[in-house]
């Protein structure tokens, strides 16, 4: 059986842990671990597409859960419905309802989530916050109140990196501006991007950008996080892989050396993204692939994988003693918060929209014209069939 993913390097050991469990349960199966490296799967996805077009699908492949899978593969009728598997394994109750809604359509559930990452998190260093004599804001208005003071001290209020992190920041800002209901309405096609609400989100984003560093486009996300760690910047909105980076690479203790909060104005909302594996139609070793998916969705598999990867288990019953302080707090939030999907990481919109959105973002970064950005977003939404 062949599985296809982009987990190598730092994430390799986590995948190996899953493979070990699978091998223990299915000793007769020869498992081929095909990885194509490259951040968030840029290269892997291209290779996968050529393989699928060539009629040679892997037995199971990694994909961002949500529309990135649905828009590309489900709409093309290439995936098998996994609802029977979910029912048989009792997963309908082990995963949060909001999550299952986001990874499925009315026709079925299309992948098994392996992990959950949270997108709307703001990171800071508690000691620095105290030193500068400020409080962590809970809304963007509070942020705008303290940001000029930080600038006077020579501190960048908000650290930002290259293009995709601008998309990442946008979704947190837009969620704060729109609220969870309107956010969902956007992706259901019920609220237009060029409506007053949509344009307001772009306006707020433009205002936020004024407090970000000017050299953003030449920084990686790690460098933006470093700015916060070094005290050159006060805050950074980044997904919770930043927790893994700071605790593993930088050897900082969660909670004391670095702190976090839901990004300004989004407390009580959990914007998620998830890696998942699906079952393509025409998989040569379908039964073995199903056994693989069972390992991924099981509590044992999930708790073997996530502490190593630094992510949260998608299950509600995970063994929290295995996770660090950040992981515990995220798991608690996942259980009680309103769950919404991330745009920058493929949950709410298909790949066509995501690609076009990146160029709309570039347009906005240059022109800072909220009205035009709203119009352009609505056009690409229509073109890519958002909400259909």
């Amino acid at each position: 059986m062949e599985i296809f993913s982009w987990w190598a390097g730092d994430e390799g050991p986590a995948l190996e842990a899953l493979i070990d469990i699978y091998k223990a349960q299915n000793p007769d199966v020869e498992l081929i671990n095909a990885t194509v490296t490259g951040g968030s799967g840029v290269n892997a996805k291209a290779v996968l597409k050529t393989r699928m077009l060539g009629g040679e699908p892997p037995d199971s492949f990694q994909v961002h859960a949500g529309q990135e899978l649905i828009g590309t593969w489900v709409k093309a009728d290439r995936m098998e419905d996994l609802t029977p598997l979910f029912k048989e394994q009792g997963w309908m109750d082990s995963f949060p309802k909001g999550l299952i809604k986001n990874i499925g359509t009315d026709k079925g559930i299309w992948s098994v989530p392996v992990n959950i990452h949270r997108s709307n998190v703001v990171w800071y260093i508690p000691a620095n916050i105290e030193k500068w004599g400020i409080k962590v804001p809970t809304s963007w208005d509070e942020f705008f109140a303290i940001a000029p003071k930080l600038q006077e001290k020579g501190v960048v209020p908000l650290a930002l990196a290259q293009n995709w992190t601008a998309n990442h920041l946008w979704e947190s800002v837009a969620l704060a501006s729109l609220g969870a209901d309107n956010w969902d309405a956007l992706w259901a096609g019920k609220l237009a991007f060029d409506s007053p609400e949509g344009v307001k989100a772009w306006e707020l984003f433009g205002k936020v950008l004024e407090y970000a560093n000017k050299d953003a486009s030449s920084l990686s996300w790690q460098q933006a996080t470093d700015m916060v760690v070094d005290g050159r910047a006060a805050f950074n909105v980044m997904g919770d892989w930043a927790a893994g980076y700071m605790s593993t690479t930088k050897k900082m203790a969660p909670g004391t050396d670095f702190g976090w909060a839901a990004s300004f104005g989004t407390s009580g909302e959990f914007m998620f993204l998830a890696d998942s594996f699906g079952l393509p139609k025409g998989a040569k070793n379908r039964d073995n692939a199903l056994a693989w998916l069972k390992v991924l969705g099981s509590r044992e598999g999930s708790d073997a994988f996530n502490p190593l990867k630094g992510s949260t288990s998608a299950r509600l019953d995970s063994d929290l003693s295995l996770y660090n302080d950040y992981g515990k707090s995220a798991a608690a939030d996942l259980g009680k918060d309103r769950i919404v999907g991330s745009l920058a990481h493929g949950v709410t919109a298909n790949e066509g929209f995501m690609n076009d959105f990146a160029s709309v973002m570039e347009m906005f970064l240059k022109s800072r014209n909220a009205q035009m950005a709203g119009k352009a977003t609505q056009q690409i939404a229509a073109k890519n069939g958002i909400g259909k």
């Binding site: 709409k75 093309a76 030449s218 570039e362 890519n384 069939g385």
Partner: protein
């Protein structure tokens, strides 16, 4: 006998003719066909994707559509990349070659050093240059070693643009360029007292005048104002490319210079030519074929520039984008196969405008040379 040879030659070449016609020209044809369809979007990756013929709509969308702005900036970038790379790499390469041609001490060492960047892959040199051009490190902190203030130029992330023009006025600009070329040809002809010179000069001036007068009546290429220009963020990338390829052009010229007979140089010197005059009037004009092939190769490289930009500024950087990068993302990320194919064909045609005149020229030369 001769006839028999031809048959043999034909059969020897047949396999490669077949393979090339399928795998090169067949696929170019297929790409062109795809670019005329609407293959893309939802369901693009189905086993039997629906493809409808849609004429040149993809091309029209790219050049005049609301959402094609990114592609248009990429195209403008590609032009600037090509021009700057040609000027930089040929200028510096020739200069280095002339220095080394005069056999300084340690010539072999310098030759290796200058040629060395060529052996690196674009990904490697791109990563190195990204670090060197980081806003708060590398090149920018060099002055601090001698007690000066650090540079603040953002090599790769500046938002400034110079030489901006409005895409709406594309037609007018094209006319201006045509007239400028005609006038230049005319002036050159006048200088050499050619009879047709005046015709070029007059037609150039007329076109220029018309374009200026009719500026407002000319059809607009776009329904809204859209400015494009030379983004200063591309400086870093151009710098890295020139660094990598000036050694290569140096090698080309050096080979040419060494090929010139020493007798010729001695004769020139005997006639009282200075070293600079020897190069200006004898050596460089003799190396015209080398200059032409350098132009072809370098312009080709600048049209295929993908990995360097990917390594230096990432995939979604509108400031430093390039059509090749855009093509990859449109095709393999957005699943918009038809539009990706259209971009590929546009790049192919641009490359053709460089190559075809060269091929025709060299073919004629060989015919007449026989």
């Amino acid at each position: 006998m001769r006839h028999k040879d031809r048959i043999k030659a034909f059969f020897t070449l047949l396999p490669s003719i077949i393979l090339i016609s399928i795998f090169v020209y067949g696929f170019i044809g297929n790409t062109f066909w795809i670019s005329l369809t609407d293959w893309g979007g939802v369901g693009a990756l189905a086993e039997k994707p629906v493809r409808n013929y849609s004429g040149f709509s993809n091309y029209i969308e790219l050049f005049t559509g609301f959402l094609g702005g990114g592609f248009r900036q990429d195209l403008v970038n590609a032009v600037y990349y090509s021009v700057m790379l040609l000027a930089g790499a040929i200028g510096i390469g020739m200069f280095l070659a002339i220095l080394l041609d005069n056999k300084p001490k340690g010539e072999a060492v310098f030759r290796t050093i200058f040629l060395y960047p060529m052996s690196l892959s674009f990904i490697v040199s791109g990563t190195i240059w990204r670090w060197m051009l980081a806003p708060q490190g590398g090149v920018n902190i060099l002055p601090t070693y001698v007690g000066l203030k650090p540079f603040t130029f953002s090599w790769l992330s500046s938002n400034n643009a110079v030489l901006q023009f409005n895409w709406q006025n594309l037609l007018q600009i094209a006319l201006y360029i045509t007239s400028a070329i005609l006038i230049l040809i005319g002036l050159r002809g006048l200088f050499r007292a050619k009879p047709k010179a005046l015709k070029f000069l007059i037609s150039g001036a007329v076109i220029c005048g018309l374009a200026w007068l009719a500026g407002d009546i000319l059809p607009k290429a776009l329904f809204m104002e859209e400015t494009h220009g030379f983004n200063t963020a591309t400086f870093g990338i151009i710098l890295a490319t020139i660094w990598q390829y000036s050694g290569y052009t140096m090698a080309l010229y050096l080979a040419g210079f060494t090929g010139i007979s020493q007798d010729l140089r001695d004769a020139a010197m005997l006639d009282g030519a200075k070293t600079s005059e020897y190069y200006r009037f004898i050596a460089i004009p003799m190396l015209k074929p080398i200059t032409i092939s350098a132009v072809i190769i370098l312009s080709h490289i600048s049209l295929k520039m993908f990995d360097l930009i990917f390594a230096m500024t990432g995939p979604d950087n509108g400031q430093t984008g390039h059509p090749a990068l855009n093509m990859y993302l449109t095709t393999f990320r957005a699943n918009d196969f038809a539009k990706g194919a259209a971009i590929a064909i546009i790049l192919f045609l641009i490359a053709g405008t460089f190559i075809i005149p060269y091929l025709v020229g060299s073919y004629r030369q060989r015919r007449t040379g026989r």
